[in-house]
Amino acid sequence: MTLLSVDNITVRYGRLTALRGVSLKIEDGETIFVTGPNGAGKSTLLKAIAGVVPAAEGAIMLRGQVITGATPESTARLGFSMVPEGRHVFGALTIEENLMLGAGMRKDRARVGDDLSQVYDVFPMLKERKDKPAGVLSGGQQQMLVIGRALMTAPRLIAIDEPSLGLAPKVIDQVYETLLKLRDSRGLTLLIVEQSSTRAMMTGGRMILLRSGQVVLEGDARTLARGDTLKKAYFGYGEH
Amino acid sequence: MAQRSSLLARTISTLIILILILVAIAVVTKLAGSRPFERTVVEMFIRVMLVVGIYIFVGNSGVISFGHMGFMCIGAYAAAWFTIPAVMKQVSLPGLPNFLINTQLPIFLSAFLAGLLAALFALIVGRILMRLSGIAASIATFAMLAVINVVYSNWDSVTGGTGSIVGIPFYTGIWTALGGAILVVIIAYLYQISRSGLALRAGRDEATAAAASGVNIVRERLIAFVISAFVIGVAGALYGHFLGVVNPDAFYLSVTFITLSMLVVGGMNSLSGAVMGVIVISAIIQLLRWLEKGVDLGGTTLAIPNGLQEITIGLVMIIILMFRPSGLTRNREITWRLKGAGKPSE
């Protein structure tokens, strides 16, 4: 069943067109990587789906419901949880408060408790400092917190914008390892914006390549990463 | 110079249009208007000087200042000190230094000096205040206004305290006010396209990029602050000669808010916005005042109850801002070229 379908959307900032006629389909349980050079519109795509940025044209459907133009909170309540670029923890709130914020909207109050303990199992260092303000955490720890926070909303699909941004390689491995473990244990669908194609290749799943607001390439991450088709598409010479 | 002249060519039409509008209003008033209506138009021209004065700083720097009516106060009182007959000054303002009590300057020289005094004060205070930006700057400029108001309201021997001081020669007629308004619009225009004006605008839109390319934001802001203070100081002087009586309460909160509203409703970032804001809002206020006085429509006089005029102008401002958040001129300059919306100058 198609979990999320993006149909020919265009997004403009004033007179600048960030996305032009982008379409995308994500099946339940799939892992999708969105790559492409800086300014290709990767973050804009995520923000358009989340409802933070209005789509000038086209339609977005989530679990069969049209969410184009919907408010971020209604999209979140439908099970789409987004971790934006730069993480954005609530520094003045404690770590546990950050996590509990994610659970605020859930109807199933009972399972929130064990979700929390599960997040603490996966990210033990969060449990040690749970009453400290989130502002004190390091980059990697903040990344862990925002992923934990996204999980607390019991999402069907998690979209993460540049999880490895500003993190040491070792920490990036840890983050991805956790993501995959959660994906398998909870049957999550992942939509990840990731600069490094090697990372995409190692993790597997499908990949789409965006350049100057358009989808220029789509296919299985591993096969694309090996050939030079990706390099050509990435830098825009070759077929057109 | 080539680059400068092309900018001039592209934007000069805005200046000409604005001046023509002001002159047209003055001529129509002189022909058709009654004496009270003429005074309304004179008051409007003084407001144009005030709002364009604020625009020189707020429009170009993006910093919302609440303090500029303090310069109007400095200007008005300076004009009073320079032009009130010595015999009256000895009695009502004994605290003034002797050389001031005995001098009585011609109107235009005193208005110019009044502007200079306001500009000097702006230079001294601006050197500190201009480092601030955003809401902190708004509060600091408001605090400056409050300090000026408290000092002028209580320094009885020099300013006559909260009472009005009288004896300022009546001078500001429609042509003086028109001249003042045109002068201010020209100064604003020249500053806007000057090197310093463009640098400040760059700083307003992209602070980091501008700073990176060597724009000293604090210095550019100070220049705009001082020029706007001079202009508003002169406007204060003309206001004194228009009303004949000056009182600190006339330069505090109500005039601050009405001028800021006219600027924002007109369009905060464009010179045309500042001028149109004054004209449109003043026209609506005058229309409502006529309605309040009662307009006889074929025998029956239709009159709205007293006090409704203020409520209506408040609602009108809210509605305009709702549909045009960036103001009536949408931050664009009115220009000659009729094909498509005028070329935005920002």
Binding site: P72, L93, P133, T153 | I139, F142, N154, S261, I318
Partner: protein, 304 residues
């Protein structure tokens, strides 16, 4: 010694008013980056709600005669209702307008409210005897303090504790603190924007009503301009305290109250009329020293 205690109580009771005012403004600024200039007029409106509209000099007390246990909730409800109504009818349309437009819209709304009251009640201040039995003396460690001052301080402390508990303990409180820090990120976690903003306006309206009641009891007058001076100082306290920081606003409110009382005590007679000039001078110095405010929230980071 008693003189010192007296000054402390004077400073605390004046500071309480400014703290409540600053809180009312900081709450709305937190969630919407809007400085609500109509806040002063909410204060006046809530107190006029005690009277029946008439432009005679003598006040016709209407709701003011209700027993206290009904009167206070009613006036708090009127404050909250007026504030929420202004959010729905006016401010909702300015959600993503620039700060200048929002500021002028709030000023215009205040102007409309002020003139509406002027039409109904005329400009002559009305007098009202609200709990005047509170005005007798209380002996505390030698200093004779009007009971009303003690009550004002206690009410303010109770309100602060209740509000802190609400913000810290309840889900809505958590949502408001998060929204105040990073509004869009909170919405991406399912926090309903309209609900959080309306809640902020409701609490701010109640605070305005509380200030109105305290002022009416303290001064015995109901006047269209009564909210103005408290609002201006509260606005300054919000900025000095650190925008968006609720504790900052409260502490700055008490600081300005204290400074004002101290100036009144230490300034010589001729300089005393210039008291406010010194207070505003201190405001400028404070802003130069810390433009982002004394207690700017640690994570005043760029928002999504």
């Amino acid at each position: 010694m008693t003189a010192l205690l007296q000054i402390l109580f004077d400073a605390l009771s004046l500071g309480s008013l400014y703290a409540l005012g600053a809180l009312g403004i900081a709450l709305i600024f937190g969630v919407m980056r809007l400085v609500n200039f109509a806040h002063g007029d909410y204060i006046a409106f809530c107190v006029f709600a005690l009277l029946w509209p008439s432009i005679d000099a003598a006040a016709i007390v209407f709701a003011g005669n209700l027993p206290t246990i009904i009167l206070i909730p009613l006036i708090l409800a009127i404050g909250a209702g007026l504030s929420v109504l202004s959010e729905i009818l006016v401010f909702r349309r300015f959600r993503n307008a620039n700060p200048a437009t929002m500021m002028i819209a709030s000023f215009a709304l205040g102007y409309v409210l002020k003139n509406f009251l002027l039409m109904l009640f005329s400009s002559r201040p009305k007098s009202i005897d609200l709990w005047s039995n509170l005005s007798q003396q209380v002996e505390i460690a030698g200093a004779r303090i009007p009971l009303l001052q003690v009550i004002t301080i206690t009410i303010t402390i109770v309100i602060l504790i209740a509000l802190t508990a609400f913000l810290k303990r309840t889900r809505f409180g958590l949502e408001m603190r998060a929204a105040a820090e990073n509004f869009t990120m909170a919405r991406m976690l399912g926090v309903k924007a309209n609900r959080v903003i309306m809640l902020a306006f409701a609490i701010s309206g109640m605070l305005a009503a509380a200030i109105g009641l305290i002022l009416a009891t303290q001064t015995g007058t109901v006047d269209i301009q009564m909210g103005m001076s408290v609002m201006l100082v509260a606005f300054i306290a919000t900025v000095i305290g650190g925008l968006g920081s609720l504790p900052g606003a409260v502490i700055a409110g008490f600081l300005i109250g204290g400074a004002s009382v101290l100036m009144q005590v230490i300034l010589p007679l001729e300089a005393r009329p210039f008291r406010d000039a010194f207070v505003y001078g201190a405001v400028i110095a404070c802003l130069i020293w810390r433009p982002q405010g004394l207690f700017a929230p640690k994570s005043a980071k760029q928002r999504v």
